[in-house]
Symmetry: C2
Subunit: 184 residues, 2 copies
DNA sequence: ACCTGAACACCGTTCAAGT
DNA sequence: ACCTGAACACCGTTCAAGT
């Protein structure tokens, strides 16, 4: 059994989804592949890079075709895709957000949001401020939502975080602010 | 030298600020206090709780008197205080946000934002949506800003994240959205 | 109540050596 | 190119025993 980088990333996602981020160790992953831990370092320079690749793959797998025409509907579409992609795997939001925090990956959603805001006719500086605000909102909301979902499924009752409805309402708050600037 | 819980938390903040979160280990902290690692468990049940206490203390130390009268100015005031409190210590944003993510601490800023939005005359559901949106914005922005600041001071040039100006502009986006609902 | 000493069950990573 | 075996330098936490 000779593996390539893609196999390692795929297996990492499987371990993540089944046992959670805290169980996704290099040693555990190696065992899962029937390898010595040191063998992983032929495919990936270190754990941080592996996690960034996992984050990237999670986003890639969640990709959907663009349908919306109007810039603000496209923003909602991109954000919803991002949220759904992260929610599709256990601790997915945590992994994607951490990778983004360390400047790795998630550049794709950012450019798509930028593009949408530019199409909306916003000035460059507002495009940047708006893109960051939207990303922070989606990341923050989704991490919180996933945390609550997993806590709920583990028995803790906890108040639900709102789901897709609250998500879109938070988004609309920022979009309202942006719309008021495009025709103002 | 007999220590109490407060001493342990204070020393943890000192270690955090000087060497960063990755160096804040139970063993390192114990050594810093001249103790065996096991001694820490007389003051704190585990590391997670310690970090939550550190987060709480960071927010407490950053507390400032409320000056603003109007609800939307008070929102800005609360958010700015939160941001400044987190920026005051190395990796402070990371620690506070992680604690919040795990449902520990940071309840204080949340209730203050809720109160401000209620004073603004917003309906209950919008108060909750708005509070979460504002918190996510502040957390996301500040983690990103601190990351960039620390990267810059470590030699990596990196584009600056905007500082207080971009921070307030992101906030204003959400506030615009909220204001349009209060008189609408 | 607070602490020591020793142990348990792990980590990520490196490196010489094998095929 | 991909992997093994062994080691290095760590982790968080528990627990019996001391004062």
């Amino acid at each position: 059994m000779r593996y390539h980088r893609g196999d390692v990333v795929d297996r990492a996602i499987a371990v993540l989804d089944e046992y959670g981020l805290e169980s996704l160790t290099m040693r555990r992953l190696a065992a899962e592949l029937g390898l010595q831990p040191s063998a992983l370092y032929h495919h990936v320079p270190n754990k941080q890079t592996l996690l960034a690749a996992v984050a990237d793959e999670i986003l890639t797998r969640g990709r959907r075709p663009r349908r919306a025409r109007k810039w603000d509907r496209r923003v909602v579409e991109v954000c919803a895709e991002l949220r759904d992609a992260m929610l599709a795997y256990r601790d997915g939001a945590e992994v994607v957000v951490t990778a983004y925090t360390f400047g790795l990956g998630a550049g794709e959603p950012a450019s798509q949001l930028q593009e949408a805001l530019r199409d909306g006719g916003l000035p460059d500086d507002l495009v940047d401020v708006g893109t960051r605000a939207l990303l922070h909102l989606v990341f923050g909301h989704t991490v919180e939502e996933q945390m609550a979902l997993q806590a709920a499924s583990a028995g803790a009752i906890d108040r639900a975080p709102g789901g897709p409805a609250d998500f879109e309402r938070g988004l609309e708050l920022v979009l309202d602010g942006l719309r008021s600037k495009v025709n103002g």
